[in-house]
Symmetry: C2
Subunit: 373 residues, 2 copies
């Protein structure tokens, strides 16, 4: 039985230290409920990574959403993508009729700089931070496949330009290849503009198993897998195996493959992430991700735009809010309501999120969901 | 379709700063898998309150449990009770055949003293800590129903004596009424021996929808509700309304009522909690909870023993591990394998956990599950 998305909502994304976590929830949930035109939901599934205990009940009780089952999922960057995946499954299995999905994260109240890596892991003990781990993947990838620094940087140019068309993005900007390459070096080859920033935000969606209006978007298929993200035994870099396997599951569930997908939101926390993910999703052969972005295939106006919202790099990446924001973007695209960043004629969309764990060395998950208009 | 528990496991409970969170998981999960005699599970549902992001995947990957869906639930003190509740539902709905449930918390690495209350809530702003909030409930309850200080303290005497029979309890001890009453005053009328302590621990259980052996225990019915724990508009104290409503749901789901329950594990983080909960579960009329414990009805040897494991007060209360440990105790009791603390002829058991939120003022949940031999 298919499930349907009736409404979505998000906050602005960016540093919002003056707003509480609850305020972010109220804003995104209010918008999603108004968009869905529902008064009542049967359950709430909320994703957050660093949210304080009980944040869902605390925030929702104060907006009158109480006396119903509330589940809080933690799955690192994929927390609310998993919440959405679980909500779609619960609706599909007939457990609940209507479920409210929420994702929220208030990173500025938790971290002043980069999110630390778990010190008890070997990467943490050797002093590696997340940008360094991604940088090592990028370096290995460059060695294996000849990916150039310019191709990597093109992901940032593209996504920042997309973000310029998204009024809720943290960092929409027209940046040149030179500006990306000459921005401050964080971990070679990752320069500042190739790394997502600390942000706060929330997103929400309402799903049920009954089509209500022509604006409803169908959840065609969804899959989640857990595996070893930084599994050093794999011949592939950064989560390729896990993303590829999860995508295959999602394509089987949806009964359609990558060639039918018109628009995608994927996990580009660092530029190398988008390169590897586009390959893992089957958009091009392994090793061709650099040439794919260079060709214009994945930019707005291209054949399969990737991250029209600006992605994690430009819309922003408040961990637990990211999945819900990705879903909101794809739903908006498939409704044809994305305004200046609309992908013409988009009928099928895809969301992919990699949950790396904050300390996340060998703990991680991937969620891939396919939507249709 | 009923679901079955095939195996359970726990660690020792108590302060274990020298063990990592992962080590606690390995210990409890290893025991549960051996007890269940299963080699493979289809999904993992783990509950934790303050566990670091990705703890489930990180710990389980290293014991070879990977490449399967893992969900991490946060629901304050009820985190792993909810994980168990969700696992039973997933099995019941046919989503998974066999699910591994885990609860874990390593509090000593997070807190040196009492768990702080969220400072942005009004209780936090006015300087109230959790013992103070429970103490206020107790004071109001004493005023309303004439509960005596001695009756309150009897809960502690009973549960510490039960804990003496549980080799994995944090604080098993023969303590007198005078010792409880004259222990250090934490928040009047809560003395030290009426408050649970900081602890580390883990628990695990394996559930599926196929009965395998005569040692399997049946999940007869389970319910979860979310509400306003410290809702100051209620005429009742500490979570009475929420626990009573959740219990009613569970009784309907199980097709049996409190009069058929032979043994219970309930949320006695503070002595007043057990008093109010026994009333909310319907073991006696409102206001009679003090006389109920005084009568011996709820001690080992009584008609309906409550917290034979020692409960949160004596076994210990590592938040996210508590629900799994409660489940492990009831399963052990219904198998007739509880040794010196065995409730003779126990055929029906009940677990109740209140998830108060660490800052938990008006964010909370209650889970009630009924089991049968």
């Amino acid at each position: 039985m298919p499930t349907f998305v009736h409404g979505v909502g998000t906050t602005m994304f960016g540093k919002q230290p003056e707003r509480s976590t609850a305020e972010l929830v109220w804003s995104a949930v209010g918008e999603a409920l108004r968009d869905a035109e529902v008064e009542k939901v049967d359950a709430v599934f909320l994703g957050t990574c660093f949210g304080e205990p009980g944040i869902a009940q605390r925030a929702l009780h104060r907006m009158g959403i109480t006396d119903l089952p509330i589940s809080i999922f933690e799955n690192a960057c994929a927390s609310s993508t998993q919440a959405f995946h679980e909500a779609a499954a619960a609706v599909d299995l007939g457990r609940y009729d209507t479920v409210l999905v929420v994702g929220v994260e208030h990173l500025t109240s938790r971290f002043t700089g980069a999110i630390p890596v778990e010190q008890r892991d070997h990467e943490g003990r050797t002093g590696l931070a997340l940008p360094a781990l991604y940088a090592m993947s990028a370096t290995r990838y460059q060695e294996l496949y000849g990916l150039t620094a310019e191709q990597l940087a093109m992901v940032s140019v593209k996504n920042h330009e997309h973000g310029l068309l998204n009024p809720r993005a943290q960092h929409g900007a027209k940046v040149s290849l030179d500006e990306v390459l000459s921005s401050r070096l964080i971990a070679d080859p990752m320069t500042l503009l190739q790394c997502c920033a600390i942000a706060d935000g929330a997103g929400a969606a309402v799903v049920s198993r009954t089509r209500r209006t022509s604006r409803d978007v169908t959840v065609a298929g969804s899959a989640m897998r857990t595996g070893g993200l930084w599994d050093h035994r794999s011949p592939h870099v950064w989560g390729f195996d896990l993303a590829a396997r999860t995508a295959q599951d999602a394509y089987v569930a949806a009964g359609r493959g990558i060639e039918e997908v018109d628009v995608l939101e994927v996990h580009d926390a660092f530029t190398i992430g988008e390169i590897v993910t586009t390959e893992a999703l089957g958009m091009c052969p392994v090793g061709e991700g650099g040439r794919l972005v260079e060709s214009g295939h994945t930019r707005l106006g291209g054949r399969q735009p990737v991250n029209p919202s600006g992605g994690l790099l430009s819309r922003g990446h408040p961990l637990g809010a990211t999945g819900a924001a990705q879903v909101a973007e794809i739903v908006t695209q498939l409704r044809g309501e994305a305004g200046p960043r609309q992908v013409d004629g988009a009928r099928t969309g895809l969301v992919e999120t990699m949950g790396g764990g904050a300390g996340g060395v060998d703990g991680n998950a991937c969620v891939v969901t396919v939507f249709s208009a």
